[in-house]
């Protein structure tokens, strides 16, 4: 074994190492200084901030100018490239936001003694996600997904205040275990056929021909079930509404953004590295004719967005509604993958950047309102926007952005998505997606309607936001608006990051 190579490999996973160290630090701090739990969020934030800085420095100084040969580490287990780095940035940013989010959530405050566990598990999730974004070996993919999942199972039922927390946890683990079991079974079949779990070798194997297509398809669909579970697309989404509703709201927000980002990263990489034989000059991925990914992805994404949107129409619980909305958004983003082009993948990156801001923003405002109101039910929002104008406007902005209306960031995300679709001449699909957008307006606007068009009742609280919370909301709201009008920085960044290694 070449230990030099191992050493070099370690040098390239500094962010993961810092995360691991922070995780250890949190555990130790919790054990030793169990009276100063208040400091835990700061440690977590510091760790994340340091990681983020390292990640960004790596991105910018080296420009991730690895040659493809050097980019695969640990004997072809990991691929460190700017694509992964982009998602790592997304994950780290959202984690940072979630740390603050958790610090002001009532639900988490009530479980104050177990704050150490909470952050440990969060970091477990982060670590899992970081590896997911880079993994190019099916086994590592499986393991990192499990690392993420196991932590999140516990977090989903973390608070134990209400029955629904436990129920969420139980459903999540049973559902997750079955999905990952299917995935594993699929991986074993692939292993049996290709003789390796490495994606690069899988690609080579596909090029070589001689495949039992039926078995291969079954294996791939089983594996896709695992991914589908992670990014919660129909028909693997059933856990999502129940778990999102039952879990603490900070975890819901985290799951809906970071975990989904990691899932998308790994799915894109799986297809890009495992199946694409070459990329043509227009940026379209040419796949070997062994499996019709496009058909699968188009069917799944249309099903997902339609189901997400139409189910969201009927939700009275805002958290649950946002859960369905996040399903719908996963559907839109999956369309970007269905295009099977750089353009499409690029659109996903752009979409995710904006989705991150607006979705966390929406959850945050809902959380603040729930803290005061004790309810996430839409019927309790009567006239809220008139009584608490700042929160109302902020939530309105986030929801409008989620709908995808200009001049908000959400529109730009959708725009890039549709650009990719039209570029690929997938007009019918684009029309379906657009009509879905119209449907989605219904339920987003319903919240606005309750907040503004209904008159305030006596129960409608006037919610004062602390300075910190105001700043936090502004940090999310201002970009939502500004990126809607000037999105070049984000797009430039995403453009820089759309290069894959390990192919």
């Amino acid at each position: 074994m070449d230990l030099n190579g191992l050493y070099e490999s370690i040098a390239l996973i500094k962010p993961e190492i810092v995360i691991s160290l922070t995780l250890l630090a949190i555990v130790l701090f919790d054990l030793i200084l169990s009276n100063s739990k208040k400091l835990l969020p700061f440690i977590a934030a510091t760790g994340l901030a340091v990681t983020l800085v390292i990640q960004i420095i790596e991105l910018s100084t080296t420009g991730y100018a690895f040659s493809p040969q050097n980019a695969t580490l640990f004997y072809g287990m990991l691929s460190v490239d700017s694509f992964g780095a982009f998602f790592k940035v997304i994950i780290l940013v959202s984690s940072l936001l979630i740390v603050y989010f958790s610090a002001v959530t009532d639900e988490i405050k009530q479980s104050f003694d177990r704050l150490g566990e909470y952050y440990t598990l969060i970091f477990g999730m982060i670590l899992g996600m970081m590896f997911m974004t880079s993994a190019i070996d099916l086994i590592l993919i499986y393991l990192s997904i499990e690392l993420l999942s196991l932590s999140s199972y516990v977090l989903a039922g973390f608070t134990k205040i209400r029955q629904r927390n436990n129920e969420a946890s139980l459903k999540y683990i049973i559902y997750g275990a079955v999905s990952s079991g299917m995935m594993l079974f699929g991986i074993s079949l692939i292993y049996g056929m290709a003789g390796s779990t490495n994606l690069v070798e899988l690609n080579n194997f596909i090029q070589s021909g001689s495949i039992n297509l039926v078995t291969f398809s079954i294996a791939l669909i089983l594996i896709f079930a695992g991914f589908g579970f992670k990014i919660s697309v129909a028909p693997f989404h059933f856990w999502t509404p129940d778990v999102y509703e039952g879990a603490p709201i900070s975890i819901t927000a985290f799951l809906s953004v970071a975990s989904k980002a990691a899932g998308f990263a790994v799915l894109i990489r799986f297809i890009r590295v495992g199946f694409v034989s070459y990329v043509d000059s227009d940026g379209f991925w040419r796949l070997s004719e062994v499996f019709d990914w496009q058909a699968l992805l188009v069917i799944i994404s249309i099903l997902t967005m339609t189901l997400g949107n139409f189910s969201a129409l009927w939700q009275d619980n805002l958290k649950r509604m946002l859960a369905y909305s996040s399903i719908a958004h996963a559907g839109y983003m999956l369309l970007g993958l269905a295009v099977l082009s750089n353009q499409g993948a690029f659109a996903i990156l752009v979409y995710f950047s904006f989705y991150l801001i607006m979705n966390i923003g929406a959850f945050f405002v809902v959380m603040l309102i729930a803290n005061k109101l004790g309810s996430e039910n839409i019927d309790d929002y009567n006239g809220l926007g008139l009584k608490s104008p700042f929160l109302g406007v902020a939530l309105g902005l986030f929801l409008v952005s989620l709908t995808g209306l200009p001049p908000t960031a959400g529109f730009i995300g959708k725009l890039y998505l549709f650009i990719a679709l039209v570029d690929a001449k997938m007009i019918i699909v684009a029309v379906i997606a657009l009509l879905n957008t119209v449907v989605s307006l219904y339920y987003y606007i319903r919240v606005l309607k309750k907040m503004y068009l209904s008159n305030p009742t006596e129960d409608t609280p006037e919610i004062k936001t602390s300075a910190m919370n105001t700043i936090f909301i502004l940090i999310l709201a201002v970009p939502t608006l500004v990126f809607g009008l000037y999105f070049a920085p984000v797009v430039d960044f995403a453009k820089m990051c759309i290069s894959f290694f390990g192919v």
């Binding site: 690029f346 008139l386 200009p406 039209v422 029309v431 307006l441 999105f487 070049a488 797009v491």
Partner: protein, 533 residues
């Protein structure tokens, strides 16, 4: 005027006003009214400055050099990768003879609507903030020359409108607001798709010689810019231009509103507060027809020619259907709403003629309908403020009680009927001259003249039911109009009279542009062939 960013100012002064409205303290909320009045007042002044510096001999439409007051800055410029191309979006504004009347209309109607908003007392700050945002959206649509910018402004006015109807509206406001919103969004998503399709079908050559995809409307009008394989490129034998045209047209038609997409309008009008009805009928509806003239026509000249009969047909249906529906209404506002549908039919009929007289008539009708209908809605507002009912059969004999008011009503009604000497007639007549002159749609034009008759029918019947006859004792305490209402109605009356007698004041502004549009439509047809759909 070189270098003075008058269009930017026109567009964004209301935004400044909105910010000012938002920062004033809550206990001085009434200040918002004055801020809005000042902002819209400045807009009117700027619009007049614009008009007075406007060169009547520059055509515009398809060439940048003959647009005026151009402001063009790079807004988004993302250098390309090999597979994605450079993304370039410009902040590109400019006006020609078709947009100037609309800018003027927007400024005037906004100002008058501000006056008419004086009695709003429910969340005043919010109201005027939304109002001013709406103003920006409308103005932006009329001055944008970049499709992307256009689309942003187009959508920008959706939300304020939703709230303005939804919060300050009548009993069924929520229903009306959501209906408006969903309808319009439904239309605009198709527009978005066509916009993206066009983006991928044409190249614009930049100063440095590089070719990039473009949202520049003027570049999209030039057939030479289209690539060989773009999906909306005329050179692509399998292009989707026909479908795209329909999709785009539906997007605009919903706004007009064209039968059968009109049903949001009566609801929206009935529920909206008076100033918002004024804006809605006065300006918003014009955005649909303006969009067709500005975008559909020059970008798809060959399909426009192919479909002119259908456009005229729908115009005719609008005229007659709207008028017949108006005849049956019992609610004053709903009646005016349906009359709007009817009158917008004239605009479509005129546009469909693709002739100078017809399009001049259409654009003039856009302006005239804007002022006349604004006046009609103000009139409904006046009576609703006092009596709190709009039932046509609840009144009677108001002419005795409110003679001055009735005087204004008479002017507005007869303008709407198309009485010569008042502005509405000139544009209707030109529309008929234009559409009758084109053999293809002559029959439709002839049938459409029935609209003149029906229009007189429902308007005079309304006049009779509400104002003539013996005074209903219930209303013997109604006051005649006050100073503020004078201030709203007199300018509109003067405009209606002035343009009735001297329509050239406005026709000369637009004529060169209309001629160049007609010229463009008639010469660019041969270069294209209709796709084999």
């Amino acid at each position: 005027m070189n270098g003075f960013p008058i269009l930017t100012l026109l567009t964004f002064i209301p935004i400044l006003g909105m910010i000012a409205v938002l920062v004033i303290p809550k206990d001085k909320a009434n200040l918002a009214k004055y801020i809005a009045l000042i902002a819209t007042g400045i807009q009117v002044v700027l619009a007049i400055v614009l008009l007075s510096n406007f060169n009547y001999n520059a055509g515009g439409i398809f060439e940048q050099s003959s647009f005026q007051f151009i402001e063009k800055f790079r807004w988004i410029h993302i250098k390309g990768l090999s597979w994605i191309g450079t993304v370039k979006i410009d902040y590109f504004m400019g006006v020609d003879g078709i947009s100037v009347p609309m800018v003027l209309l927007t400024a005037i109607i906004s100002f008058i609507a501000t006056l008419s908003s004086w009695k709003i007392n429910k969340s005043v700050k919010g109201y005027f903030a939304m109002f001013l945002l709406l103003d920006t959206g409308m103005m932006g649509v009329f001055v944008s020359l970049d499709f992307f910018l256009f689309y942003v402004f187009w959508e920008l006015m959706l939300l304020p409108m939703y709230f303005l109807i939804g919060i300050w509206g009548g009993p069924r406001k929520e229903y009306a607001a959501i209906k408006f919103f969903i309808y319009t969004l439904f239309g605009s998503v198709f527009m978005l798709l066509v916009m993206i399709g066009l983006y991928f079908s044409a190249h614009e050559t930049l100063a440095d010689g590089s070719q990039v995809f473009t949202f520049n409307m003027l570049a999209l009008m030039d057939a030479a810019n289209y690539t060989a394989d773009g999906i909306l490129s005329p050179f692509n034998p399998e292009n989707l231009r026909f479908i795209a045209y329909i999709a785009l047209f539906v997007g605009f038609a919903i706004k007009i509103p064209m039968f059968p997409f009109h049903t949001w309008l009566p609801d929206a009008h009935v529920e909206a507060p008076t100033p918002i009805s004024v804006i809605l009928a006065g300006v918003l509806l014009k955005m649909g027809t303006y969009g067709i003239l500005r975008i559909s026509y020059p970008m798809f000249p060959e399909i426009t020619r192919e479909l002119m009969w259908f456009i005229a047909l729908f115009g005719m249906i609008n005229i007659i259907y709207g008028a017949l529906c108006a005849l049956a209404q019992k609610d004053f506002k709903k009646l005016i709403a349906y009359s709007s549908i009817s009158h917008m039919g004239y605009v479509m009929l005129g546009m469909a003629s693709l002739s100078t007289t017809g399009i001049n008539g259409a654009v003039l009708q856009m302006f005239n309908h804007g002022t006349i209908t604004a006046m009609l809605f103000l009139i409904v507002g006046v009576i609703y403020d006092r009596a709190h009912t709009r039932g046509l059969n609840d009144f009677g004999g108001l002419a005795t009680q409110m003679p001055v008011y009735t005087g204004f009503v008479t002017v507005a009604f007869f303008a709407a009927i198309g009485l010569p000497g008042l502005s509405g007639w000139v544009s209707e007549a030109l529309v008929f001259v234009g559409s009758f002159g084109v053999e293809v749609i002559r029959t439709l034009a002839i049938i459409s003249t029935l609209g003149i008759l029906l229009g007189a029918g429902y308007m005079l019947w309304t006049l009779q039911r509400v104002f003539l006859g013996n005074l209903n004792e219930k209303w013997k305490d109604l006051k005649d109009i006050d100073g503020r209402e004078y201030a709203m109605l007199i300018p509109l009356t003067l405009i209606i009279l002035f343009l009735g007698i001297y329509p050239s004041a406005l026709l000369d502004v637009m004529n060169t542009s209309v001629n160049s549009l007609v010229h463009f439509l008639s010469t660019n047809v041969t270069n294209f062939s209709i796709s084999g759909l």
